[in-house]
Symmetry: D2
Subunit: 341 residues, 4 copies
Amino acid sequence: MRIGLLTGGGDCPGLNAAIRAVVKRGLGEYGHSIIGFRNGWKGVAEGDVMPLTRNDIRGVLDTGGTLLGTARFHPHSADGGLDAVRATLEAERIEALICIGGDGTLHAASKVAETGTKIVAIPKTIDNDVAGTDRSIGFDTAVHIATEAIDRIHTTAESHNRVMVVELMGRSAGWIAVQAGIAGGAEVVLTPEEPFDIDRITRYLKHRHRAHASFSIVVVAEGAVPAEGTSMEWETKYGTFGEIVSGAVSERVAEEIAARTGFDTRVTVLGHVQRGGTPLPSDRILGSRFGVAAVDALQQGHTGVMTALRGEEVVLVPLEEVAGRAKPVPAELIQVANALA
Amino acid sequence: MRIGLLTGGGDCPGLNAAIRAVVKRGLGEYGHSIIGFRNGWKGVAEGDVMPLTRNDIRGVLDTGGTLLGTARFHPHSADGGLDAVRATLEAERIEALICIGGDGTLHAASKVAETGTKIVAIPKTIDNDVAGTDRSIGFDTAVHIATEAIDRIHTTAESHNRVMVVELMGRSAGWIAVQAGIAGGAEVVLTPEEPFDIDRITRYLKHRHRAHASFSIVVVAEGAVPAEGTSMEWETKYGTFGEIVSGAVSERVAEEIAARTGFDTRVTVLGHVQRGGTPLPSDRILGSRFGVAAVDALQQGHTGVMTALRGEEVVLVPLEEVAGRAKPVPAELIQVANALA
Amino acid sequence: MRIGLLTGGGDCPGLNAAIRAVVKRGLGEYGHSIIGFRNGWKGVAEGDVMPLTRNDIRGVLDTGGTLLGTARFHPHSADGGLDAVRATLEAERIEALICIGGDGTLHAASKVAETGTKIVAIPKTIDNDVAGTDRSIGFDTAVHIATEAIDRIHTTAESHNRVMVVELMGRSAGWIAVQAGIAGGAEVVLTPEEPFDIDRITRYLKHRHRAHASFSIVVVAEGAVPAEGTSMEWETKYGTFGEIVSGAVSERVAEEIAARTGFDTRVTVLGHVQRGGTPLPSDRILGSRFGVAAVDALQQGHTGVMTALRGEEVVLVPLEEVAGRAKPVPAELIQVANALA
Amino acid sequence: MRIGLLTGGGDCPGLNAAIRAVVKRGLGEYGHSIIGFRNGWKGVAEGDVMPLTRNDIRGVLDTGGTLLGTARFHPHSADGGLDAVRATLEAERIEALICIGGDGTLHAASKVAETGTKIVAIPKTIDNDVAGTDRSIGFDTAVHIATEAIDRIHTTAESHNRVMVVELMGRSAGWIAVQAGIAGGAEVVLTPEEPFDIDRITRYLKHRHRAHASFSIVVVAEGAVPAEGTSMEWETKYGTFGEIVSGAVSERVAEEIAARTGFDTRVTVLGHVQRGGTPLPSDRILGSRFGVAAVDALQQGHTGVMTALRGEEVVLVPLEEVAGRAKPVPAELIQVANALA
């Protein structure tokens, strides 16, 4: 079989583990040809191919990023995009496609699958908001990096008696914020799931600093918003992607806290480091398992499905049940974050 | 309520997160008294108490080990052990007990629960072999440390054209070996679950070194054994605990490989570092969630249960379904390890 | 002897190692009393004391920040500041003072020494710009954190074909930028020592991207400025402290690069994480050696001196030779950074 | 110029940074050809060449090991070794040689230099015992890995009330043991420089455990030996290399401690992980500086010299002043280790 392979959307740690697994399983076990496309769907549309051999995947297991490159390009949104994809797949005699990506890539995958192409998708996103799977590739490493940053900021907060506001990724879901908030022992965690009341927060911080502590950590997901009718207005309207300005909400939150409490308040916007570097073992393992499972799924005749982690098992779920749906942070996790603040 | 709290068995990262969560939830939310016992069941038998306040849990979230201390002591195996436990619980007016531990501690917990004491258990073990839960506290960090060691040994293996044998923990189950083996890209992974054939392994290594590589990593769980009837005999008989000598099997395996292949072969026994140091976020989060859940379970009147992770949820499972049962590595994971070698 | 001890200026990793060493050496070897002051010179002026015992320094060797707290307060700049310091030292019967700090603290130390107080100083600053010593406490760890961030950003730059601009600390000297730039393999490093020409930089980036690479890392010290007469104007005038706005120069540099090259260009401002977290061994060792040396220096009757690292030795240098002088990055290091770009 | 390049002896982190710098500086700045030899002097003797291009050094800055491979082979000790080296250098028209290595490689370099070959050497050794330079490539990373291990073992020691004996590398000098011992807060540090008295050590441990602590860390360099006339005999005689058996001394020390104190005592032999993995920034920087300096030295006509770090400067020292001389740990460092125990 000639299997096409692409990585789309933002890069993250663990992608190379998945690429390696697809090549090792597809080429090594079944003798398939694995044809990589550069830069996600863009490379498919443009016919930018990179046939993958054992040599290409040597030494990549513990590296971040994606050796195939990636881009934020959606063929179904671009003029003639789906036709260009179709043309390349025919020209390259691709019999099936493995797509590694987040919400946008999965949505494109389901559109392309509708045109008759055999497709198996693999979920990756540091935001962990892909539905149908307990975890996506890249999330655990992002939480680790964010937690490490909070640990570091903790010692400064304590030494200087400061309120430190830390902005983490998460436009539509607060997974990183909640998990890194629990792991880093944050006093306040603001997420898109639960619009916040700045008055309640500053009252809590004042109470805490009076009672027993002289510093606090406030973790803010970049998509956090104030609740309607609370005293902090927030003029900007957000869409799902792209319009959120990095640093905007945390700067505003810090100003409000400083103004209401008088505490020395500082902001850190963690930014791009959250998606880079050496993947944690769990992301290497997840990428490896999903890569093997995707090739096996094609071998067994599956199409229009996504590999997913459910408890300790890797299963297949229909793409249509998944694409376009988000996965909010469960109430229990948010409750733990609040209970331990 | 007066709640007793203990940590038993080998120490691991994430215990302090659980202790902190029990104190914050129990004392902060419900106003319970949390009475710690030093050094596991030994401290209960001896009446060695340490009432826990908010001060005791300050700054412990990101620390390894257990602030309560621990010991390998099983009251039901010691003369008069259960009576001593009973006496202390009465003297201290303990109304319920939260026990954090692995197989031995859980077994003791179920024995003590039979005497009428209210008990909720929290599973911890770097070996991840407690049944009924996807993960136990400490496992993820142990896999991380083991993988980091393999990554390091990898560069030496490659620079010197060596076979490096790495012995990891795991007496009755090969969880660390399999996960760190996949994450570290090991060529061979030997586990207690699958007795090995040294001839097959050395044939594979010779083939690999002839074909394309000049080095290999062989990961060995300390409880790995050769299959009956294969050419490597293994005189020692192992019990479940304690009789396995650290380094024994890896030294033997290395000798056999060197003798049959002529390759420069070296051994590293990773040992105690696998249970120490800063917990990964996932172990801090698991400890935090289990700690909150254990207190809530007592509050709701549960007893004789263990907190457990199932997919994305924390649930309660009856202790009797869990104690004494092991949890072997699933076939799919072992298959991934083999597929990617 | 009653020895006062304070940490001043920004916090950094390795301070607790120095505090621990002062207590262990002073109290344990010579039987001195060690009287800590909270929050730097502010605590001296306000008489905010914290007598230090062996218990206070237990478990702090590998922790960031300072257990004494710190503040940016200079007694010689505050009304009646020196008198208040003097009054506290008398009231507490302090016979000598050990001051751990950067340029500001050392300057204050030399002023207080002039009033007759016995003083030994210990240099700390993540910026490494204290004269007279090869290294100050905190620098190596800051370089490590900055390098790790560049490593992470590297994989994203490569996966997305981007120019990544990374702003690191360094207002008056580019030590962190140059060392992390070399260690992280940055293509361009901008420092306060060498005003930059944005045209030359963008020509180089265009050449590089045409020739063989599709991504670049540009490291910018926060005190970097464009050279006079070059095409990028820079209205703001900087003083030595405080007026530099975090992120300002890197945002401008990124805009100019994007405008002139058309490359997708992103900014990361690393910020506070550079001063936090677990100290590297070299900072724990430097803090330990300086702490022991400072107590020994007082014991031997020295005053008005600073502990310093020179090659492999710890020596004492007169405070007056050091205070107020900066230490620029040597030309050889900058040349290596450029040679390897 | 055609410059030969080799890495000899044990591998360590930072070698690839030096190789990269030699190629970038030699090829990029001066247009030289850089001819790598595989596996150290063995590759020179066997004519095993690998011409190095920019492509070969892409992405290697942050990797451990050596892309050239290495071996413990000394041409002056092998029959016809120097002649074979000479023959290869002529056949490959090598005009100068850059040798990266430790004591053995430097000794070989001085022998080969005597035959008229232009040679510049670069010191590397995790043991840091090369004379003439403050630091050798690989040492800082080894100390970091060893310290991290001690940090991890610390939490286990404390949780279980144990004496943990940790064996670190260092056959003829105790650099790693002393620095990691200080950084990790070890109670006892045994080095080759100072033969130990087991009675004094066990008395100290008993005193400590009675007084205030219930655990201890004992760091042992693998070349540590008991002092003559003390109660612990040590039959084995050691040479400078090779005859020391890994784990031997630490096992004996642990047995003696357990027998005399009754404390639960465990051994960890850290082994090969000390030389592997991602180099710390300081080793990447040192490798980069030495690589640039070595090429520049050849360009300026130097031969028979070694690059060296002295304080903040890179200088050249004559090979004859260096080869065959060891560099013991200075007394001040050992004193700090003891003072803070």
